[in-house]
Symmetry: C2
Subunit: 424 residues, 2 copies
Amino acid sequence: MKIRFYNARILTMRDDEALFEGELWTEDNLISYVGDKKDNSGERFDREIDCKGNVLMPGFKNAHTHSGMTAMRSYADDLPLQAWLNEKIFPMEAKMTGEDCYELSRLAVLEYLTSGVTAVFDMYLDPDHIAKCAMDTGMKFVQVSGINKFGPTLEVLEDRYLRLNGVSPLSSFKLGFHAEYTCDLSLLEGIAALAHKYKQPLWTHNSETEFETKDCIKRYGKTPTELMDSLGMFEYGGGGYHCVHFSDHDIEIFKNRGCTVVTNPGSNTKLASGIAPIQKFLDAGVPVAIGTDGPSSNNCLDMFREMFLVTGLAKLSTKDASAVDGLKVLKMATVNGAKAMGLDDADVLEKGKEADLIMIDLHQPNMQPLNNIAKNIVYSGSKQNVSLTMVHGKILHENGEFFIGEDPEVIYQKANEIIKRLSV
Amino acid sequence: MKIRFYNARILTMRDDEALFEGELWTEDNLISYVGDKKDNSGERFDREIDCKGNVLMPGFKNAHTHSGMTAMRSYADDLPLQAWLNEKIFPMEAKMTGEDCYELSRLAVLEYLTSGVTAVFDMYLDPDHIAKCAMDTGMKFVQVSGINKFGPTLEVLEDRYLRLNGVSPLSSFKLGFHAEYTCDLSLLEGIAALAHKYKQPLWTHNSETEFETKDCIKRYGKTPTELMDSLGMFEYGGGGYHCVHFSDHDIEIFKNRGCTVVTNPGSNTKLASGIAPIQKFLDAGVPVAIGTDGPSSNNCLDMFREMFLVTGLAKLSTKDASAVDGLKVLKMATVNGAKAMGLDDADVLEKGKEADLIMIDLHQPNMQPLNNIAKNIVYSGSKQNVSLTMVHGKILHENGEFFIGEDPEVIYQKANEIIKRLSV
């Protein structure tokens, strides 16, 4: 399958490369050309797409989410994190089947596609069904284990790690755990041993709330980050989701260990968890990526909302309108996410890289005039501007239509049936 | 013109009325029926619209904006308010013609329609050209004077007030001024006298930044609100835009004077101005409406972003995830805005009210499942969900198409030409 995108504005997201007018070709799952307008006589394409001056750029990487939580969107709002989790979410999840997980992840895929997301870093209940969702829909899922003291066992985690990596270019599996506060010390030690055995990075929810952080200090005399580091958990890098209540020492540990912060400002805002110190992370040279968190705590899977919140909350909390410039945020949402997720071949638009890309429609009032197109995307962009989403060389969403092998109405109906059953 | 919307979910926004399934009829500019499914034999409609289970609700009221600033979107970002205003915006505005103002307001209208906005409370440079924009496009503009010590005169203000009210049901004009810090005392006294003469409410930017508030205290020994109140400016109500740095005494004054706060969280976030104390306003019984502010400081005109920020920032700043529930926010964005703008006939869906309404598409992944539709709109809603916007009984936007008497591409081109000329 060879596709030619012509008459485009191209934002490769390669360091400091300015947006330029040109074209891009894909061949199967790879980008085969990016550059100026090119003579295509002699080339045969399966499809030629006139981009009408719209932007092609790398797809967004949603670097922290719980896709299967779509069922609980707007089901338990306006509650603090611990009450929301213990009283509402955990009891419902206990009733959720693998098939439910598959269906609810498909619903999330639809929403990712409308938001220009081409890969997700997903932590949820049934990794086998989620891997199937990735392969069936065509979305790229990098799964991460959410193991905790309620399950599964370390043996299951190891089995999943070995079995679910490599089954498909759309599906991979990283070592991780739910959070310090849902694991006991021996389990954390076991997880660290696995990371050492396979020389792998580790990922987890880290310092999301003030309560979590203080409680860890009370129990261990260490912050969650200090505890994890003392257990050797960051020997091969990795990072944390949320990282709201980070001390200067925690930041130093992340810097020294080459760890990445995945910030989730929508969720942290709605659950009143706090504002992550993004400017401090940048000053220290700690890479930051962006995730939506799950749709029950956000409640949407919208990278545009997240991007505005990353820069906006940094400006608010530092009282400095120049903090965390929009262009840095665009890099977090694309390149940094790809690196964090181990998708080094899906970070920028370049010959030989994965064809994971989106088209941003500039023929919309919120994108006009064209003073600064990249800043328009961050500061005034919205899902309405995503006119095409291509993952692994396949167009999964175009002009409002979905091509994921299922009628969206069927997926909506199933999600409504599932929540009805779970909430009984 | 008689239109029948059937097979709808209806959110009237009348106090405590739950969403119900039914239909709605319009006749010219008015709603002629709202209720259960109705036998329509014998009725003749010009058009019958199958809503397919989607939501009909009152249009959003954007209760503070500067429409003509679309030219400067993404033109001067990442700057604090005073530098942004004095070094970038004022010099460009000095070169702006009335015709520019007309064109740039038309660009804003396109964006309002995509966001389900059916009326705007607009403060900008050339009220005659803006009134023409309202009448030509069909959007409802409630203009408010932005008089300050650089112009125009009190005589011009009075003339505009008398001349521009009543020219069209789409155009009205309120007394107001730019801000305390851009007016000297004698001008403020003159404005207060006009408000008394015509028994009218007064509107202005109020306590947007900490600097502005402290500087006023230094000059007058009073906060901006105390100063305005001491001049009798709130004798007939009105209110303030932004109201970020409000003392408890300021809140008390607003409560006693029946004034409304129009909050602008997107702008306050991006310019690092601060977080308005929304929960305190609600506790005190001060009504709150919502505005986007202008597209140069936000940078979009998106009521969905604003709604999420209103509840989210309230939750963050009070450290209480239950603060300012989403349903209250929906009321602010519709009913409270209408009341603040003097549009008492455009607040809710009810027989005899203005046909200013929108359709929210539930057949989108971010609206599924249907656990709580009203909360879905606030917490996960997005411009992509606005499938129809009707103002004064006329459909101006439907399924991505615009019906405002001009090709959007012409408007985009003119906006680009204008910014090119202004920025020389």
